[in-house]
Symmetry: C2
Subunit: 285 residues, 2 copies
């Protein structure tokens, strides 16, 4: 399990902001915070961070009545990313290696993450991603494996980011690729609404995992999704949340594409914080 005490403090920061945003009274804030402390006290060491996140958001929902606290940010992220599409398509089109360029853009899109950090610059991140190296680069193997694959499963992560995933998927050009979205609101993660809004449904088959944690947790997912997960020849997993949910499977079909946005994940991958990586567990040292 990729998690340590720093995740708790990261959660505390995120949920303190959400308490403020929801305009909780002091009494509501007390009740919510005590439930948060209670959850961490009782489940420390037994839940993964995406599972904690799901539980915490359910508690928040019960207190606030708001099932989707990041809906505004999600729309903003999608719109911001959609605006960049013509420019990015030109960059990819003029590139000598379209797959590699589109892959870097897709990873750069992983910067959109209101849970870890709501202060990011999408355009700057894309420019950086295009000019800098991947800290771990198993993309050649990924490309070879996609070429031979009968079925590809692409596990989505955040709103906004999904637009760049679409550009990458269009450049993968695989005939049987399915994009997976969360089964319901989970932080700013993509749901079916985002897939429709951003045109992902036109670029690939889209499926819901059937579970609303900010990660793919196969045993909690729908039977349909699990069947697809079992049958896929290559699985492209975007972002930290999916890494946290899937890394313990040690499944060599999975390629994790992400920015290491926090120290905990960066240390796990043995890369500097902020690094962009394409990692296959089999090829890890």
């Amino acid at each position: 399990m990729i998690s340590d005490y720093r995740c708790f403090f990261c959660f505390a920061r995120a949920f303190e902001k959400l308490i403020t945003r929801h305009g909780f009274s002091v009494e509501e804030g007390n009740l919510f915070t005590h439930e948060m402390i209670s959850l961490f006290f009782k489940k420390w060491g037994s839940l993964t961070m995406p599972e904690f996140s799901r539980e915490m958001h359910y508690i928040l929902r019960r207190h606030s009545g708001n099932p989707d606290p990041y809906s505004t940010e999600k729309k903003f992220s999608n719109d911001q990313a959609l605006e960049m599409v013509p420019e990015l398509m030109e960059i990819i089109g003029n590139s000598p290696d379209k797959f590699s360029t589109a892959l870097r853009i897709a990873i750069a899109g992983n910067i959109v993450d209101f849970a870890a950090n709501d202060d990011f610059n999408l355009k700057e991140t894309v420019n950086k991603a295009l000019s800098s190296d991947l800290a771990i680069d198993h993309s050649t193997e990924l490309r070879n494996r996609i070429r031979k694959a009968g079925q590809v499963l692409y596990l989505g992560d955040n709103a906004g980011e999904i637009v760049f995933d679409r550009l990458f998927i269009e450049n993968i050009g695989h005939g049987d690729l399915t994009f997976a979205v969360r089964g319901g609101p989970a932080i700013n993660d993509v749901t079916m609404d985002d897939a429709i809004y951003t045109g992902m449904t036109e670029a690939a088959g889209v499926i819901s995992t059937g579970y609303d944690a900010p990660s793919v947790i196969p045993e909690k997912s729908s039977e349909t999704f699990r069947e697809l997960f079992r049958k896929a020849d290559v699985i492209i997993s975007k972002g930290q949340g999916n890494l946290e949910g899937l890394i313990q499977l040690n499944d060599d079909r999975i390629f994790f594409l992400l920015m290491a946005k926090c120290e905990t994940v960066a240390e796990y991958l043995k890369v500097p914080r902020g690094s962009k990586v394409v990692v296959n567990p089999q090829l890890m040292e």
Copy 2:
């Protein structure tokens, strides 16, 4: 009890910084953080914030082996304040109302607080305090009560701040005034070492409370201190910590002098955050 969920998040911020500062390993950080969560889970609603703070610092001490994590800041604060003494003495000396000016300077010194916020500007705060109104001002009553008092007890708060307390005490000019320090290291609060280092021992009698919470908690204090507390005619209580420990006594001998540095205390006093106040419980609305 002046405390709510915001205090928990404030604690989380402070102790995350301390974990980093002490260079804890991930495993030590995990153990410490779980003990923190456990303490809050078990004692929520039953301990005051200064008591929580004391417990947390004991846990930190056990993990770090460092009994006084703020010793460097304390020396820095004392030195910084001592450097300002000639200038402040001149300001007080030239003032038409020396008591009032020295009192404002003493309250401004309350900005020194590494637990609540380690990013403050002492000189700027003093200048502001001299030119702005007190949000609650029971200082005329304080002055009258001191005039008639046989014994005055002055409850110290932070290092650095103690230097300005000394200037105020010298201007109070009472023949039987005792300054109380904490019984041992508690955040950046004053101990006997600070009283000696800053010359407080030359300006007043100095006594230890005999207890090392960042507040005065009479029932936990030494018998000598409690006797003095019982007999005092006027008690000047500096800072938020002392307010949190003493407010529930509803003791009309106590005048609380402080800056309301956080929302929780500011709301309790019904003043804007950052306000400077002289409050007597009897005179509160």
